[in-house]
Symmetry: C2
Subunit: 240 residues, 2 copies
């Protein structure tokens, strides 16, 4: 039976190992939510980069520059980290260079995986159905906050585990913990998360609408997948 | 207001910092449960050491040698890691040299703290009352399993957080997550933990009695505290 495991922060990734596994990157507030919306709204590809300088350099070569540090957009970029900015095909056909505090680091640490896909509540069922359909073990990698565990990514990991539990064997206690937390919180995730540190941080930045949007389930039937250092629409990849 | 934080594995301890904090070391199955029972049953002191060789060397100098690796006692020691062995004052007045897979590492990584104390379900309320009575911030350090997060230590962290929440400010999401998990599981922790990896591991070693014992709350009104590289009874320390 295939196995599913959960790594609660990239800081623990060296204890797992990504080889021969499909890795699901999770950064609910807000990197992987942004990526989901962007790809669903026709963005051609997203190049995740670790540093602001790389992002600026790609921007000067013609990419749209999306950057976030500590929840805010640094000066000199086109976009911050709001998923709402990509709605209505606002950036359809464009290539986005994106750097965020946690999410892009989780991607770069997972590059040796069999496949790297992007998960968020917005494409939850698409992700679950894809994972069930493919043959490999699964590792869900939560981006966390500066190395520490966060609640919103853990809840999403639990949501995926719930979807996979009849098809996959559970590997570690973090899998059980995340599923318990999701089942506890799912009736009103916004209420449960209102006490959590990153939601407090974002509320201070007046982006309550982003938070509410990122917690909606199954808005898009799309899976961003990493292909040669850029995220693209899995469906388009299959067709080409 | 004083703060309470939870570090879910020693592998993340570098992100926290122990200075000026009281650190509570948690290794429910079974190191800190053993330490609680031992001190409550008159053991003079416990010297936690990282390596089997150090433990053996102290044993040859007259200590009782307690050693555990992967749940089992290696050859050539006096005791394994069963808390039941210390009952009925079996080792009263003795000095124990102790090495375990996870717990003793968590202690050695926390040595720069203001104070290091030992927590387990067996002395839960004694630990909570002491933490409320003293002036410092608190960091609960779960020993985990070989660097990964485990359920039983997380549940105990949540139990302590529940006891402290009216007196301490919550610092991070791991604090909220652990309290939610404890409140969910507390009615029947043995049942909840029956799916968890370490309980499965220990069941295979036929030490079900140890597991049941380690989950009993408030059996002993005692706090082992680290004093010059050895754990001693806090009450005796105050008297001398």
């Amino acid at each position: 039976m295939r196995k599913v495991d959960v790594c609660l922060t990239p800081e623990l990734l060296h204890l797992y190992g990504v080889k021969n596994r499909v890795v699901v990157i999770v950064d609910i507030l807000r990197a992987t939510s942004c990526m989901t919306v962007a790809i669903a709204n026709g963005v051609e590809k997203i190049i995740p980069v670790a540093k602001l300088e790389e992002c600026q350099s790609l921007r000067q070569k013609g990419c749209v520059g999306a950057a976030e540090r500590d929840g805010k957009m640094p000066e000199g970029f086109d976009l911050g980290n709001s998923p709402l900015a990509y709605l209505n095909n606002a950036y359809a056909g464009k290539t986005i260079a994106m750097t965020t505090t946690n999410g892009t680091l989780a991607i770069s640490k997972s590059k040796d995986a069999e496949e790297v896909i992007i998960g968020s509540f917005l494409n939850k069922t698409a992700v679950i159905n894809y994972l069930i359909s493919q043959p490999n073990d699964v590792l869900i990698v939560c981006a966390g906050w500066k190395g520490k565990v966060n609640l919103e990514d853990t809840l999403f990991a639990g949501a995926v585990v719930e979807g996979l539990k009849d098809h996959f064997e559970i590997e570690n206690d973090a899998v059980i913990a995340s599923a318990t937390l999701y089942n506890y919180a799912k009736k009103d995730m916004l209420d449960y998360l209102s006490a959590c540190s990153h939601v407090k941080r974002l509320k201070n930045l007046h982006i309550q609408k982003d938070i509410e949007f990122c917690l909606r389930e199954d808005q898009f039937n799309v899976i961003p997948v990493l292909k040669e250092d850029a995220l693209v629409d899995m469906e388009k990849l299959v067709l080409t």
